[in-house]
Amino acid sequence: MVKDIQPLNEKETRAGFGEGILEAGRNNPNVVALTADLLGSMKLNAFIKEFPDRFVQVGIAEANMIGIAAGMTIGGKIPYTTTFANFSTGRVYDQIRQSVAYSGKNVKICASHAGLTLGEDGATHQILEDIGMMKMLPGMTVIVPCDFNQTKAATIAIADYEGPVYLRFGRPKWPNFTPENQKFEVGKAQVLHEGTDITLFACGHMVWLSIEAGKILEEKGYSVEIINIHTIKPLDEEAVLKSITKTRCAVTAEEHNVLGGLGDSIAQVAARHLPIPIEYVGTNDTFGESGKPVELLKKYGLDKEHIVAAAEKALARKQK
């Protein structure tokens, strides 16, 4: 039952990143960390304490940071660049495009404070377009883990995964429900609950809200499949197809513009192989604003009630 999925605790996904990079640093002497005047927000204190020589403070100069990281790969370092998601992507898109993606460099672009749940800082900082920008770059792997434990595991795993990676996580405390010390497999969708009526595909913070929506749908008598697409690219097409072949309708949920994000990736698979009704939960081509994370998710249509409503719409379309 979906209702049996319970959080272990509430923690920030970025804190998972902080623990993960410390462990990645212990596992592999080539791991180095860079930041652009945000070491506290990015939870780098423990890493810096243990590996002061493997930390680079770039100052408020994100474009420079990406270029330096690309350069550091030449000779074998594995640079993790760290700043907020907006300054990790939009700010430095061409530097990533040319010096990292096109040049095929092993840079891990680690981005916190993604999406609406950044909260009060408002739209200038709340990027809702980064998944799209990053997945459009040839050769870029895009990972959006769902909770603290998974962010930690993904942070550790990408050190051993050759090639450029965009790792997206967030600011607030959030339900932490996946197992501690899990093994993270890049590119492998995670089936959290099996069902037969509808599939909820989600990434990041929206995975927990999809579980909560799944509980409501279950009470209404539906059998719900919930799949965590922590790797948006490369997408686990086999898992997506397997699920929709069974359920024949789906909802996608992401803290991102519905144009260009997870939903689009899922829809392409469906359109190519098995067209089915799909409803999209995400921001609808809008900027965000200041407010508390939970208020913002509600106002912009990303709370569990909106996922339930989207699911009922998809189910109704299937029945026609």
Partner: protein
């Protein structure tokens, strides 16, 4: 008209109350720049709050590039008459025009460009100054930038552009408080002495103590007297982060955290409410 010093005190009260009210925002840089904002909007600039005109023809314009110090900007705009000071209580809350960082998107009078992502405002100020010249508008463009913010490379593209194009109706001010998020500006980035840097790029460089009101007014007026001579002007403004609240002064930790109830009371006790303006 109240004394500029009283206006600055009122702005400081608003800053700590606003940041406390939503438990979020940036008091440090805001408090440090309160004297500058009071001087600029209540003495130096020629501007018309009502009705707000985005184009600002025949007015002086101001651009805040270091958008995180929005509390000082919002409080100043409210007291200057751009909007009702009651609205200050909505800062950073849902459905507010007073976004975390200044924005035109919600239509707040007095804001002419979004800022918050650092390092973009000097280019915008240059653009507005070029338009004034093309429009034969002889008023000036002012802008403010953080010292940490100068680490962004776009600034240096702008710093190179302005003298080359003789943008001499532009008065840029740098809040040289020596602090940024991760520590002192020297520890983080080694910015060094800004004077020879700007001078080498071709700017007229002035200095001022940004927390000495008489000096702020005199220096801004001097800057105006130096416009129209083929060179852009930069004022290197020394301020104390958190100025006016003793436990915040000089500490980068107060860059972006909110005071507790107890800290708010302590802060307000150091900033007596001026008779003429009043809290929102």
């Amino acid at each position: 008209m109240p004394q500029l010093k009283d206006i600055a005190t009122q702005i400081r009260r608003d800053i700590v109350r606003m940041v406390h009210g939503c438990q979020s925002g940036h008091p440090g840089g805001s408090l440090g720049c309160a004297d500058f904002f009071a001087a600029l909007y209540f003495k130096v600039m020629q501007h018309k709050p009502q009705p707000f005109d985005m184009d600002g023809g025949d007015q002086d314009l101001f651009f805040l590039s270091n958008g995180h110090i929005s509390p000082v900007f919002y409080s100043t705009l409210a007291h200057a008459g751009y909007f009702d000071k009651k609205e200050l209580s909505t800062f950073r809350k849902l459905d507010s025009r007073l976004q975390g960082h200044p924005t035109t998107h919600e239509g707040l009078p007095g804001i002419r460009i979004a800022s918050g992502s650092l390092g973009q405002g000097m280019s915008v100020a240059i653009g507005a100054a070029l338009t004034k010249k093309l429009n034969n508008d002889d008023r000036f463009v002012f802008s403010l930038h953080g010292d940490g913010e100068l680490e962004e490379g776009q600034n240096w593209e702008a710093i190179m552009f302005a003298p080359h194009h003789k943008v001499d109706n532009l008065i840029v001010t740098v809040d040289w408080n020596g602090q940024q998020i991760d520590g002192t500006v020297e520890d983080v980035a080694g910015l060094g002495d800004l004077e020879p840097k700007f001078a080498a790029f071709g700017w007229k460089v002035l200095h001022m103590d940004g927390n000495n009101m008489d000096e702020v007014v005199a220096t801004l007026e001097k800057a105006i007297s130096l416009t129209g001579k083929g060179q852009p002007i930069v004022i290197l403004m020394k301020t104390v982060m958190g100025k006016g609240v003793d436990f915040m002064e000089g500490h980068h930790e107060w860059h972006g955290i909110a005071p507790s109830d107890e800290q708010l009371a302590k802060a307000l006790a150091q900033l007596p409410e001026p008779a003429e303006l009043g809290d929102y």
